[in-house]
C-alpha cells in the first residue's frame, strides 16, 4: 500500500520532466535545418569572412573519432575560417538515412552523400557549384587543373554538384597489397622460387604442405583460405579472376578498350579457367573447405594462427590477422605479395591507371545560408597550407622543418600515430578532415618540395620486417610493388573505372545487377567446390541462369553508361 501512495508523486514528477525537457529540447537544440549567424549575402570584407558560423554537415561515412572540431587541427581550421561544423555521420547502413533526408525537405548545409547523391540531385536539394568554384575557389581550381570536366554530373546536366573528396588528385599507390600472398617461410624454404603463375603458386604450397602438414600443435596447415563473408566475396573470390587474367578492375563488368562494350566479366572464357583452377585446388585438398562458410572473424583467426600458407586477398582485408602474428614476433608467418596470373600471357592488372576518379564528394545544399563562405572554407582546406595542416598537423607540434626545408614528422608523434591510432586521431584531428574537402593524392609534392601526404615510398620501406626485406632482396625488389607491372605499362582508361559511374535511380540496371550478383554468389562457390568432372556442367548451368536473368540486357545498359561517361570526360 505504501507503493500506491508514492505513485501520484512520481507521476507528477515524470510529467513535469517531460514537459521541461520537451521545452528544453526545442529551444536549445540544434536542428537539421539551416542555422548559424552568417550573413546571407556574399562576404565582402575580410572581417566578414572570419565571423563565426556553423554549418550542419551530413556524411555517409562513419566517423566515431569526430570531436566537433575540438581537436588540435580542428581548432586551427576554425581560427582560420571561422567555420564550425555540426557534423552527423552515418551509423550502419546510410542509405535509409539519406533517403529520409532527401525526402524531408530539411537538408543539412553540407552533404557528403557518396552513392546516394542522385537522391539529392533528383530532389533538387543541391546547388550547382560551377560559378562558386570559378569565382571564389582558386585553390580548388588549381587542385583539379584540367580534370575539371570530370566533376560534371552528366551529359544532360553538366552542372557540378559534387566536389570530389575521396580520390586524391595525382594519387599514386606505392604499395602492392593485392596479388596472391604467400607466407615468407614458404618461399624461403623453397629457395625463393619464381612465383608468377597460378601453377607456381600451387606448386609452392603443395611442396611446403607435403613437408609440413601440421603445425607444432598438430593442427592441420591450410594451403589457401578464401574470405567469402558477404561483400568480402568480391575481394577474395571474384575480383582476383580478372586481376589474374589481364582485365582491370571495372567492377562486375569488363569494358573493351576500343568499343567500350561491357561484358559481365564472369562470361570471359579466361575467367572460367581461373575458377577451374580454384576447383582443382579444392580437389587437391589445397583449398580450405570452410572458405565459403566461415565468417570474417574466423578467417582472421585462422590467419593469426599462422596455419594458412597462402591467401588471395587485399592486405587491408586481412591486416588484423597479420598484426596478431607480428605481435607474437612470428614474422616468417607474414605474407609477401606476388603478381600471380593464370599463365605467362597475362599481366597482373592491379595498377592499371584510371586517371582521377571524380564521383563521391561534397555537395552544398540549397538551404545552406552562405554558400560563398562554404566554398571558401572548402577552398582553404584545399590550399597548400590547409593540406599540410590536415595531413601533417601543426608545425613544431607534430612535424618539424629542417634547415634544408625538409619536413618530417616528430618521431614520438609518428609512433603514436601508428600504434595508438584511435586516440591519436581524436586528439590531433589528423585523419578526421581528409574527406571533407578535396585533396591531393599520395606522391604529390607541394611547392616546398615536400609531400602533401604522409604516405610515401621511403616510409614504406622502414616498416618492413627483416624477414620481409630478406624475401624482397631475394626477388630483386625494394617494395612488393616492384614485382608488379607498373602503371606506365597500361593505357589510361578514358572512362576512369566502370564501378565509379553512378547509375541513375530509375535505371533497370540496379535490379539486374542485384539479381546477377545473387546468382554469381551462389553458383561460383558451387562450381569451385564441385567435383572436377562436374565443373563444366555447373558452370554451364551458371551461365544459363545468368542468361535467363537478363545478363545481356545488363551489359547493354552498362555499355551505354560507359559511353556516356567517356563523352562527358573527354570534352
Amino acid at each position: 500500500m505504501a507503493v500506491k501512495k508514492k505513485w501520484p508523486a512520481v507521476l507528477l514528477t515524470a510529467a513535469l520532466s517531460v514537459g521541461l525537457l520537451a521545452g528544453c529540447g526545442e529551444s536549445g537544440g540544434g536542428n537539421a535545418g539551416p542555422s548559424g549567424s552568417g550573413s546571407a549575402e556574399a562576404g565582402s570584407g575580410a572581417a566578414d569572412d572570419l565571423k563565426p558560423i556553423t554549418f550542419t554537415f551530413y556524411s555517409e561515412d562513419p566517423n566515431p573519432n569526430w570531436t566537433n572540431m575540438q581537436d588540435e587541427i580542428g581548432k586551427v581550421i576554425t581560427e582560420k575560417t571561422g567555420v564550425i561544423l555540426n557534423a552527423e555521420f552515418a551509423v550502419g547502413d546510410p542509405v535509409q538515412k539519406s533517403a529520409l533526408i532527401a525526402s524531408s525537405g530539411k537538408y543539412p548545409d553540407i552533404i557528403s552523400a557518396k552513392n546516394s547523391i542522385n537522391k539529392f540531385v533528383d530532389a533538387g536539394a543541391v546547388i550547382d557549384l560551377t560559378e562558386l568554384i570559378d569565382q571564389h575557389a582558386p585553390n580548388i581550381k588549381k587542385l583539379f587543373g584540367d580534370q575539371m570536366n570530370r566533376l560534371r554530373y552528366s551529359n544532360d546536366d553538366p552542372s557540378i554538384y559534387v566536389i570530389p573528396t575521396y580520390d586524391g588528385v595525382g594519387n599514386t599507390i606505392f604499395e602492392a597489397g593485392g596479388g596472391f600472398s604467400l607466407q615468407h617461410r614458404v618461399v624461403k624454404e623453397l629457395g625463393y622460387p619464381k612465383i608468377r603463375t597460378v601453377q607456381d603458386f600451387e606448386n609452392a604450397i603443395k611442396q611446403y604442405l607435403a613437408k609440413h602438414p601440421t603445425d607444432e600443435n598438430g593442427n592441420k596447415n591450410i594451403g589457401v583460405s578464401l574470405n567469402a563473408d558477404d561483400w568480402h566475396m568480391y575481394i577474395s573470390v571474384t575480383n582476383p579472376a580478372f586481376f589474374a587474367t589481364g582485365a582491370p578492375d571495372d567492377g562486375e563488368y569488363y569494358i573493351d578498350m576500343n568499343t567500350y562494350e561491357a561484358t559481365y566479366h564472369y562470361l570471359r572464357p579466361e575467367e572460367k579457367e581461373y575458377f577451374r583452377w580454384l576447383n582443382h585446388m579444392n580437389a587437391e585438398g589445397l583449398l580450405d573447405p570452410d572458405s565459403f562458410v566461415q565468417k570474417y572473424d574466423q578467417y582472421k583467426a585462422k590467419i593469426a594462427s599462422g596455419r594458412v600458407l597462402g591467401l588471395i586477398d587485399q592486405l587491408w582485408d586481412y591486416a588484423d590477422g597479420e598484426k596478431a602474428l607480428k605481435a607474437e614476433g612470428k614474422f616468417e608467418y607474414t605474407y609477401g605479395h606476388y603478381p600471380v596470373t593464370l599463365n605467362e600471357n597475362y599481366k597482373d592488372t592491379s595498377f592499371w591507371p584510371t586517371g582521377f576518379l571524380a564521383g563521391y564528394g561534397i555537395a552544398i545544399s540549397k538551404t545552406n545560408p552562405d554558400p560563398v563562405r562554404t566554398i571558401k572554407f572548402l577552398d582553404y582546406l584545399a590550399s597548400d597550407e590547409g593540406q599540410v595542416l590536415l595531413n601533417w598537423g601543426i608545425k613544431d607540434k607534430h612535424y618539424t622543418v629542417d634547415a634544408n626545408g625538409k619536413r618530417s614528422m616528430i618521431k614520438e608523434v609518428n609512433d603514436r600515430r601508428v600504434n595508438d591510432a584511435t586516440n591519436f586521431q581524436k586528439e590531433t584531428g589528423i585523419g578526421n578532415y581528409n574527406t571533407i574537402g578535396p585533396h591531393y593524392g599520395d606522391g604529390v609534392k607541394d611547392p616546398s618540395g615536400n609531400y602533401y601526404t604522409l604516405r610515401f615510398p621511403e616510409q614504406l620501406v622502414e616498416g618492413y620486417s627483416d624477414v620481409e626485406k630478406e624475401a624482397l632482396k631475394a626477388y630483386g625488389a625494394t617494395t612488393w610493388k616492384d614485382l608488379f607491372p607498373k602503371e606506365s605499362e597500361f593505357k589510361v582508361k578514358p572512362w576512369g573505372a566502370a564501378w565509379n559511374i553512378p547509375v541513375p535511380s530509375d535505371n533497370e540496371l540496379t535490379v539486374l545487377d542485384e539479381k546477377l550478383k545473387t546468382i554469381t554468389w551462389k553458383m561460383v562457390p558451387k562450381a569451385v567446390l564441385a567435383k572436377p568432372e562436374e565443373f563444366d556442367r555447373v558452370w554451364d548451368d551458371y551461365l544459363q541462369q545468368l542468361e535467363k536473368a537478363g545478363v545481356h540486357k545488363a551489359e547493354e545498359l552498362r555499355t551505354q553508361l560507359v559511353k556516356d561517361r567517356v563523352k562527358l570526360w573527354s570534352e
Binding site: L21, N63, S104, G177, H232, W316
Partner: protein, 308 residues
C-alpha cells in the same frame, strides 16, 4: 502430524514423494544444463572484453581472458558524449516506462471491462496497429511536421501506446475475479477509482513484466536518436554513442571498399574486443533492472479478498 495414519495412505504418500523427488532431480539437471548453455555467450563476451584486442583476433577464447587488459574499457570511456548519453538514456527509460505503464494499463483495464461499449472497436483498432506500418518516410515527415525533431519528447511520445502491452495486461486482468470490481461498484466507486485502487495493485506481475519490456526497449533504442536527434548532442543516448563506434567496421555494405581508404579506416576502427566491451557496458545496467523488478513477481494480493 496426526497420529494413526492408515498404512495405505502412508505408503501412497511415500511413493508420491518419491515421484516428486525424481521430478525434482530431473528438473534440476535440465535447468542446470540450460543455465550453462545460456550463460556461456555472456561470459564469452565478458572474457573477450577483458582480453587484449590483438590477441583476440586469434580466436579460441571461451570464458577466461587470455591476456587480461582494461584497455578496451578505457578506450570506450574516452569517447565523448557517454556521460550525457547515459543520463538521457536513464531518463528516457524511467519516463518512458512510467508513462507507458500508465497508458497500457488504463487501456487494458477499459478493454477488460465486459460492459465497455467501445471494447470491440478499440481492440480491433489497436490490434491492427501491430501489423500495419506506414514506413520510414511518412513517419519521418510526421515527426518533422510536429516539431519533434531535436527534442526529448520524440523518445517518449510516438511509442507511448503499445498494443502488445495492452493485450498482455488485459489478459492478466481477465484472469482476475470480476466480483471484486462489481462489489466496488456497488459501494459507489467510479471506473477510474476501481482501476486505480483495485485492479492496478492486483496486476503487479503483469505490470512488472511490461515495465521490463518497455524499459529494455527504451534503453536499447538508438535508431530514433539516429534519425531525429543526430545533430543534437545534448540529447544523445548511450546506445547511440556506442552503436556509432560498434558499427564503424562495416564500412558501408562493402560496395564502397574501393572509395573508402580502407587501410586508414581499419587502423582506427574498434577491434572486436572493444565491441565486446561496448556490449557489456550497454547491457549490464539494464540487467540490473530485472532483479529489482523480481519482487513484484509475487502472487498478487488478490485472492484473500474473494472468498464467499
Amino acid at each position: 502430524m496426526r497420529g494413526g495414519t492408515p498404512l495405505a495412505t502412508q505408503t501412497w504418500r511415500k511413493s508420491v514423494s518419491l515421484a516428486d523427488r525424481l521430478l525434482d532431480l530431473f528438473i534440476t539437471v535440465i535447468l542446470a544444463a540450460v543455465a550453462i548453455v545460456t550463460i556461456y555467450p555472456f561470459l564469452n563476451v565478458l572474457a573477450l572484453s577483458l582480453n587484449d584486442s590483438t590477441d583476440s583476433v586469434r580466436g579460441g577464447i571461451t570464458i577466461i581472458p587470455r591476456e587480461f587488459t582494461l584497455e578496451n574499457y578505457k578506450l570506450i570511456f574516452s569517447f565523448g558524449g557517454l556521460v550525457t548519453g547515459f543520463k538521457i538514456s536513464v531518463l528516457r527509460t524511467v519516463v518512458g516506462t512510467l508513462l507507458g505503464l500508465i497508458s497500457s494499463s488504463m487501456l487494458a483495464y477499459a478493454l477488460a471491462r465486459p460492459d465497455f461499449q467501445g471494447r470491440r472497436f478499440v481492440s480491433v483498432y489497436l490490434a491492427i496497429t501491430m501489423y500495419v506500418s506506414a514506413g520510414l518516410i511518412p513517419v519521418y515527415l510526421l515527426i518533422k511536421d510536429l516539431h519533434l525533431m531535436g527534442t526529448f519528447a520524440v523518445y517518449i511520445l510516438p511509442g507511448l501506446v503499445s498494443a502488445f502491452n495492452v493485450f498482455v495486461i488485459r489478459s492478466f486482468i481477465d484472469g482476475l475475479p470480476y466480483a471484486l470490481q462489481e462489489s466496488a461498484k456497488i459501494d459507489g466507486a467510479n471506473d477510474f477509482t476501481i482501476y486505480w485502487r483495485i485492479v492496478l495493485p492486483m496486476t503487479t506481475p503483469a505490470l512488472a513484466t511490461i515495465a521490463l519490456f518497455i524499459a529494455v526497449g527504451q534503453w536499447n533504442s538508438w535508431f530514433d536518436t539516429y534519425l531525429y536527434n543526430a545533430t543534437s548532442p545534448h540529447l544523445t543516448t548511450l546506445q547511440y554513442e556506442l552503436t556509432k563506434v560498434l558499427q564503424s567496421t562495416t564500412a558501408g555494405n562493402g560496395g564502397d571498399y574501393r572509395t573508402t581508404n580502407m587501410t586508414q579506416v581499419l587502423s582506427t576502427v574498434s577491434p572486436e574486443s572493444v565491441k565486446m566491451a561496448i556490449t557489456m557496458v550497454v547491457t549490464v545496467p539494464i540487467l540490473l533492472v530485472y532483479p529489482f523488478l523480481q519482487r513484484y513477481f509475487v502472487k498478487g494480493m488478490t485472492l484473500g479478498a474473494v472468498k464467499g
